[in-house]
């Protein structure tokens, strides 16, 4: 009986008794969620435009962070290292188009998926070969200290990270919805062959989306790297993005964002309120269990693109 009370009633009483603390937990969960969203966003962009499930997205995050930190260690200021890293990621997009996508054109999706697994090993290896495999600190000069926002104590770094992510997403939305290039990208996502018949070059589009995914990887790499150090385990956050994708749907940009927020929020609240009851560590598996539930009841994801079919 006592367990049932602790599990089903007490957490909610706690929430009601200390609403400000609940708000703090919720906001800090959402802020972590933003960072999941960023990784998931890279997957969605590439999947939409080229139907490739890019397993290497996590490795791209690691590679971007390693390159940035390596350049800073070699004496570049961060504002010099950033554009150089961006150029490296765009160069990588060209190399991937030339060396992987073009030779594998017309191959089944599973072949391309396997190729991206190979790519992830290549990137992890190349990054560590070039910049070394020790854990590196990425100091952006943003204090990791709490600030008071309307009575809530929030982490300043998280707030800035969320702001940067919001700006990035807004910029992407603008690019996709309101430029000829964005229109071409969406056309390719809908029907690559029809787009080709209008003279839209699939190669150009692929280079663009892989470049954009590379830029998103830089932002994600900076945030995660500054939080937990730049190290091999960064490439594993791709695994954390998978439940986000299942929740949000593989083809939906808003889905990736909302999915990340839901998972960040859910796991933080579960950890804080239910963690003590069942012994903690909920954060480690909460996302996957949520993803499983979604798969059982709504396999296309909460926001998966509706297939428009007229009968």
């Amino acid at each position: 009986m006592e367990f049932l009370w602790d599990f089903f009633v007490a957490p909610f009483l706690d929430m009601i008794d200390f609403p400000i603390f609940l708000a703090e937990v919720a906001v800090s969960g959402l802020l972590t969620g933003v960072m999941y969203s960023l990784v998931a966003l890279g997957f969605v962009l590439i999947f939409k435009a080229s139907q490739v499930f890019n397993f290497a997205q996590g490795a791209m995050v690691l590679f971007a962070a390693l390159t940035l930190v390596g350049l800073i260690e070699h004496g570049l200021p961060i504002w010099g290292a950033l554009p150089v890293t961006a150029i490296v990621m765009v160069g990588l997009a060209f190399a991937i188009e030339r060396g992987m996508l073009r030779p594998l054109i017309n191959q089944p999706p599973i072949t391309l998926f396997m190729a991206t697994i190979g790519l992830s090993f290549l990137l992890e290896g190349a990054g560590e070969w070039a910049w070394g495999s020790n854990v590196k600190a990425l100091d952006l000069g943003i204090p990791n200290s709490p600030v008071d926002v309307g009575g809530m104590l929030l982490n300043e770094f998280d707030l800035i990270a969320a702001l940067v992510a919001a700006v990035l997403v807004a910029a992407l939305a603008l690019l996709f919805q309101h430029t000829p290039m964005g229109r071409a990208l969406r056309a390719v996502a809908d029907d690559p062959q029809a787009a080709l018949s209008l003279g839209i070059s699939l190669r150009t589009i692929w280079i663009i989306v892989w470049s954009v995914a590379g830029i998103v990887a830089i932002v994600a790499g900076i945030m995660w790297g500054a939080k937990s150090g730049v190290q091999f385990s960064l490439s594993l956050i791709a695994l954390k993005a998978l439940p986000v994708l299942i929740l949000g749907g593989l083809t939906s940009v808003p889905g990736a964002i909302v999915g990340g927020l839901i998972i960040g929020l859910g796991e933080k609240i579960a950890e804080v309120y239910w963690g003590p009851v069942i012994g903690g560590a909920i954060e480690n598996w909460f996302a996957y269990m949520l993803a499983m539930l979604v798969l059982m009841f709504r396999p296309q994801g909460l926001f998966g693109e509706k297939i428009i079919e007229r009968v």
């Binding site: 000829p180 029907d191 062959q193 029809a194 018949s197 209008l198």
Partner: protein
């Protein structure tokens, strides 16, 4: 010099020999997946300003012929293994689809293939992707397309996935027109549409041809409709041209009447001699 039934198959100086030929295919062969032979020496001539029909049963190679011209074969693992294709005297069978669109050849694919998650307006704009002549020119062409297809104008803010099949066919044609083509390769525009809608689309094709001088190569199973607008026609069977002639000649041919126009006659016993003549 009298013009024979066969088109003037040029040897050397083509541009001089046949100044009116906008597009010429010379014994084009296409193989899929390195083994499946689909086109076995197809020769077609399309004069500037004409509407030419490409008729034939399902699987004869009509779509493959059009895709060989627009170079959309590669993505389906098809390859041109023989023959040549010339457009305005220039050899084009090695050019990328984008380069062909820039030169004025565009294909409207079978099944319309509008972008369902883009609005009608955005779909039209994707057709102007290769153009470099500025926003004002594109805008005036948009109004021209809306003028030809008023139904599209009323629905410009609606996602293309939600408009009717006939409207989608108009949208696909309008989208192609946005590239300012000299020549449109129109694949099976009648597919899955009601007869009245088909009639409207064909009358629009004729109007575009007469008023704007757009040349059409029209692949159709609906031979009746196609020969109604086309001046000349080819009949494709198993990857080869079985017969060709003016629309009137084809209409009068007993084999064509029997097999493609659905006009059964007692006199249809000569079907086979006629059908294999070309």
């Amino acid at each position: 010099m009298t013009v024979p039934l066969e088109s003037p198959a040029g040897g050397g100086g083509d541009a001089v020999a046949a100044p009116e030929a906008l597009l010429r295919l010379d014994s084009v062969e296409v193989v899929y997946d390195h083994v499946i032979s689909v086109l076995r020496g197809v020769s077609i001539t399309v004069p500037e300003g004409a509407i030419v029909a490409l008729l034939g049963p399902n699987g004869a190679g009509k779509t493959t012929t059009l895709k060989a011209i627009s170079n959309l074969l590669r993505v389906e693992r098809g390859d041109i293994t023989g023959g040549e294709i010339h457009f305005r005297g220039e050899r084009i069978d090695k050019l990328a689809p984008g380069d062909l669109v820039r030169r004025g050849i565009i294909q409207v694919m079978e099944g319309r293939r509008c972008f369902p998650h883009l609005t009608v307006h955005e779909n039209l704009l994707t057709g102007s992707y290769t153009r470099k002549d500025g926003k004002a020119a594109v805008r005036s062409d948009l109004e021209r397309v809306y003028g030809h297809f008023p139904a599209l104008g009323e629905r410009r803010r609606i996602l293309a996935g939600f408009i009717s099949g006939g409207e989608q066919q108009m949208l696909a044609i309008g989208r192609a027109l946005m590239s300012r083509p000299a020549m449109v390769l129109l694949d099976e525009p009648s597919m899955g549409l009601a007869p009245q809608v088909v009639a409207r689309i064909f009358s629009e094709v004729r109007q575009l041809n007469e008023e704007e001088g757009v040349t059409f190569l029209l692949a159709e199973q609906n031979a009746n409709m196609a020969l109604g607008v086309a001046g000349y026609g080819y009949i494709l069977e198993s990857g080869q041209i079985a017969l060709e002639g003016t629309a009137a000649e084809l209409h009068g041919n007993p084999a064509v009447r029997e097999h493609y126009l659905g006009l059964s006659h007692a006199a249809a016993q000569s079907a086979d001699e006629g059908g294999r003549a070309g």
